[in-house]
């Protein structure tokens, strides 16, 4: 009767089993041997050592790319955190970069402070400024917050150009640079690894649970006597820290700050990286950024067609693999899969 249906026609079916050590409850593992420990440790170690050895494998040109890719990875991490764990889709990545960059640049240019002082100060001060400016919009949700946060970088660029402050269109050049290319790379890679580690811990701590609750249902959080604005401020500050560090770092890596720090790329690429890497995994967007940035660098010859490439990748993943790379890989990694005769 049903001979034409594919299920009946198949003589084999694919059987998927969760690996024994992964208990049904998410994130709870029962470890009983080194083999099982290494099963969990190996992917993490691969990522950390992979990142640490990355600079050694590159020629000087590509070492520069590593630095930029790591900054994009930080931005993607911050985007993923805000979007998937707090429910704020923030397209203001360029604003974080710009704030950090200009504060660091101005401190170095006018006061002559060394990058080792300006970068930490710019990271914190920049995050404070970004949070303060986004504060009035924090009660917005979903697409409205996205639109407003997307406008801020453009707004700031136009203010800088129109008023001709902070060097205007020329920017501020001849800033102090970091000691050498190795230091350049390892400082940003170290910050990236630490940020990833901290964020993964944070989302499972109490404060992280409150962030996630705000995403799931902000009205219920208010009904529990907690001010959601206060926690959104904390979340934006944490996310802005990562972006502003990236900006401050880049200003000293290039020895120059200018309006291109507010470029749309910094807002858009993290989204592509998050969609590609897998939203909500934190590590996925980082990997996504580390793949997309070199790819776009390799295609530099095509000029503006690079943006077309972003869009194609974005479209491809949204349509064919909306869960993203990392969610897919994690699932496959945690399951045995084999064919069974029926």
């Amino acid at each position: 009767m049903t001979t034409n249906t594919p299920i009946a026609a198949k003589e084999e079916r694919q059987e998927r089993l969760d690996r024994g050590i992964k208990v049904r409850t998410e994130g709870l593992y029962a470890l009983t041997s080194w083999r099982e420990m290494s099963y969990l440790l190996a992917p993490r170690a691969l990522l950390i050592f992979g990142l640490l050895f990355l600079p050694l494998l590159m020629d000087p040109y590509w070492q520069r790319v590593v630095c930029v890719a790591a900054v994009y990875a930080l931005l993607a991490l911050s985007f993923d955190f805000l979007a998937e764990y707090v429910g704020l889709v923030c397209l203001g990545g360029a604003f974080f970069i710009g704030c950090g960059g200009y504060i660091s640049g101005l401190l170095n240019h006018h006061l002559g402070w060394s990058p080792f002082i300006t970068i930490p100060i710019a990271t914190i001060a920049g995050a404070m400024v970004s949070t303060l400016i986004l504060l009035p919009c924090l009660r917005l949700r979903g697409v409205y917050f996205a639109i407003v946060s997307f406008m801020f970088p453009m707004l700031t660029v136009n203010i800088i150009v129109a008023l001709n402050v902070f060097g205007g269109t020329e920017g501020i050049s001849a800033l102090a640079t970091l000691p050498n290319i190795w230091f350049d790379q390892y400082i940003v890679i170290a910050v990236l690894i630490i940020a990833l580690f901290v964020m993964r811990r944070l989302v499972n701590e109490d404060i992280g649970l409150i962030f996630r609750s705000i995403k799931d249902n902000d009205q219920a959080v208010r009904a529990s006597g907690i001010s959601i604005t206060l926690y959104k401020i904390k979340a934006v500050f944490i996310a802005a820290l990562m972006g502003c560090f990236g900006g401050a770092y880049m200003s000293h890596q290039y020895g120059w700050v200018g309006i291109s720090l507010f470029a749309m790329d910094f807002s858009i690429l993290p989204i592509a990286a998050t969609v590609m890497g897998g939203g909500g995994t934190l590590v996925g967007p980082v990997l996504g950024a580390l793949l997309l940035t070199p790819l776009s660098e390799a295609l530099r010859g095509f000029g503006q067609l690079r943006v077309v490439l972003y869009c194609l990748i974005l479209m491809g993943f949204i349509v064919y693999k909306p869960e993203g790379m990392m969610n897919y890989l994690q699932r496959k990694y945690h399951q045995f899969e084999h064919w069974r005769k029926v």
């Binding site: 009205q219 219920a220 907690i226």
Partner: protein, 267 residues
């Protein structure tokens, strides 16, 4: 059942319109300390709006709400919850990506709880699981550890109540905690609510399941078209003719008779 005559919450001449619809029109009543007050009324009679107005989720056009002697009209919902007036939502609002017991971490981290604990955190997970067990989550079946989105409605309604309890409230406003539950689930919820009252919590219950409600409540307020029709004991409410007409519906024969009478009068 011991309870004082002291009014814990006073609602005075509360009004709220949405466009041209008067959702709440000049409603006044009191919730006495320690009682269970039922609020009933047909669909669209303004019951949920009343809860929204008391808890600050909707700002009233006119009128006031007092908690003890403190005016709480139009305060932020978080501030009102912080004072100890908490609510459940008619349409459950779990944090669906978190395990059931982690849903209680939010209220357990609220300023209200942190104040009473003197800033010490303690073992919040254990406290959360104790509260869930008290409200009817079987500990042995690992129900508290399941992700909220996988739980059936009965547990989600309990989770709503548990989240209120975690705040150590003085008043709970229950917005239809029985709706959508089977008869046996309701029977297991009734003692839970009775126990809350014995622990000294004042409760306002909105409910459509009148039989179960009338067993629980001390007094009933009846709303219709946003206005208070009457208040009284369950017996008084059931025997009141106006309530029967508005809420329980009148017999069609009676209606026809009335219409005939009216027509005769007009003639």
């Amino acid at each position: 059942m011991s309870m004082g005559e002291e009014a814990l919450i006073r609602v005075q001449n509360l009004s709220k319109s949405f466009g041209g619809v008067k959702a709440t029109n000049d409603v006044s009543f009191e919730i006495k300390r320690g009682e269970i007050l039922g609020v009933i009324g047909p669909n669209g009679s303004g019951k949920t709006t009343l809860v929204n107005l008391i808890t600050g989720f909707v700002k009233p056009d006119a009128g006031n709400v007092y908690f003890g002697n403190k005016k709480i009209t139009g305060l932020d919902p978080a501030k009102i919850a912080d004072l100890g007036i908490v609510r459940t939502f008619q349409i459950v609002r779990p944090y669906h990506s978190l395990p059931a017991y982690k849903n209680l971490i939010v209220p357990l981290n609220s300023p209200r709880i942190k104040r009473t604990k003197g800033g010490k955190s303690g073992d919040r997970d254990a406290v959360a699981i104790d509260i869930l067990e008290e409200i009817g989550f079987e500990r042995d079946a690992f129900v508290p550890y399941k992700i909220a989105s996988t739980l059936p409605l009965g547990y989600l309604k309990r989770l709503e109540l548990a989240r209120c309890l975690a705040l150590k409230p003085e008043v709970i406003l229950c917005d239809e905690v029985f709706s959508g539950l089977s008869a046996s689930e309701i029977m297991s919820m009734v003692p839970v609510i009775e126990r809350l009252q014995m622990e000294g919590i004042t409760i306002l219950m909105i409910e459509h399941r009148l039989r179960e409600l009338f067993r629980l409540v001390n007094r009933v307020v009846v709303l219709t078209f946003g206005e208070k029709l009457m208040e009284g004991t369950p017996e008084e409410v059931v025997s009141n003719q106006k309530v029967r007409e508005a809420y329980l519906g009148v017999e069609t024969e009676e209606l026809e008779e009335e219409e005939e009478e009216e027509e005769e009068e007009e003639c």
